[in-house]
Symmetry: C2
Subunit: 207 residues, 2 copies
């Protein structure tokens, strides 16, 4: 730290530097990608030395895991807030809405998270476990909402909640992959289509 070195407690200092480094990492990841983002650049962009990132997070993988988990936590928050106490098809549609809103509000963070999510299929990615954990939690939540829809009689009884949840998660992940490769794809139309299909595919036909 240079210049205006305000008087801070150690706790405040670590929290601040951690946040600044995470933000710097997100912007660098989006600008340059994972391989070209150096620890030195992150440290320096956030106003510290080239060595602090390693010191704090242990390794590049440690930092990437932290970045992933931070954004994933925000994503979970957004979903939970928007879904609230809804269940069944409504809950799933709200998930779609939350995602769309996330794309609009924080494209950088979302892009950084998906950069990490997708690169986590690399056997050498040490933060693989973090991603897999988040994925499992998502599917569990989705399956629960579907089960609730079944008990309320809204969703067809023959629907296998686990399989349907897995497919829904796949659609979302696939769509975000294609958005990440080509941001010009008609995202809003695709989300509309998914919302509509959720109704047709899962709901008990009204008499």
């Amino acid at each position: 730290m240079t210049a205006e070195a305000k008087r801070r407690t150690q706790e405040e200092r670590t929290a601040l530097s951690e946040q600044l480094m995470t933000e710097a990492a997100v912007s660098l990841l989006v600008e340059r990608g994972i391989a070209s983002t150096t620890l030195a650049a992150i440290g320096e962009r956030s106003g510290y030395s080239r060595g602090l990132v390693t010191h704090r997070f242990g390794s590049k993988a440690g930092l990437l895991a932290h970045v992933h988990d931070s954004v994933a936590a925000e994503w979970v928050n957004r979903v939970n807030t928007l879904v609230g106490r809804a269940t069944g098809v409504t809950a799933l549609q709200r998930v779609v809405d939350a995602l769309y809103q996330f794309i609009v509000d924080e494209p950088e963070e979302l892009r950084a998270m998906y950069l990490l999510r997708y690169s986590s299929i690399d056997p050498g990615a040490e933060f693989r476990a973090n991603v897999a954990k988040v994925n499992r939690a998502h599917v569990r939540a989705l399956a629960r909402w579907i089960e609730e829809g079944k008990t309320h009689g809204e969703i067809l009884p023959m629907v296998d909640a686990r399989i349907a949840a897995e497919l829904f998660a796949s659609v979302v992940d696939g769509l975000l992959y294609r958005w990440a490769v080509d941001p010009e794809i008609p995202v809003s139309e695709l989300y509309e289509l998914i919302r509509a299909h959720l109704g047709y595919a899962l709901r008990v036909p009204s008499p």
Copy 2:
């Protein structure tokens, strides 16, 4: 090359070494991932020196692009063979079948290709253009099959071929992502579900 240096033309030599290096790259990518796969390891596993890969492909990115394009070409072949002259829902279902067969027949190649496909969203990935090109070609082919289904009266007229094709491609990519992260997911059930949904979602209801 050592030992049994058979008498070969230069053309044969380059073709052979290129193939051996590509195969070595696929196996190393699947074993260790992109970052941990060194050019030296590829050269040596294929029986050459540490320097040949760079010499032949120019750079690591050049090699990765070549590997991607090789597997992508095989994928396109498989799809075209299986789809044949089919159109509409049948064609799309055959695509699903081709993919499932690819997973069963050549999981390593498919995994390597998807490793590269997904890591291509990284802004630093120089083979991004290769992946984007293949993606666009896929969507074009899918949209064409859907359009043909519409003209034959099999597929609902209100279906937007471009959007539906994009969504179908997303589903496939998303599913493969989840398979890559967790090979234990119920792939065959999911493919069945997709096959079935293609019928419900696109086809004109029979009278």
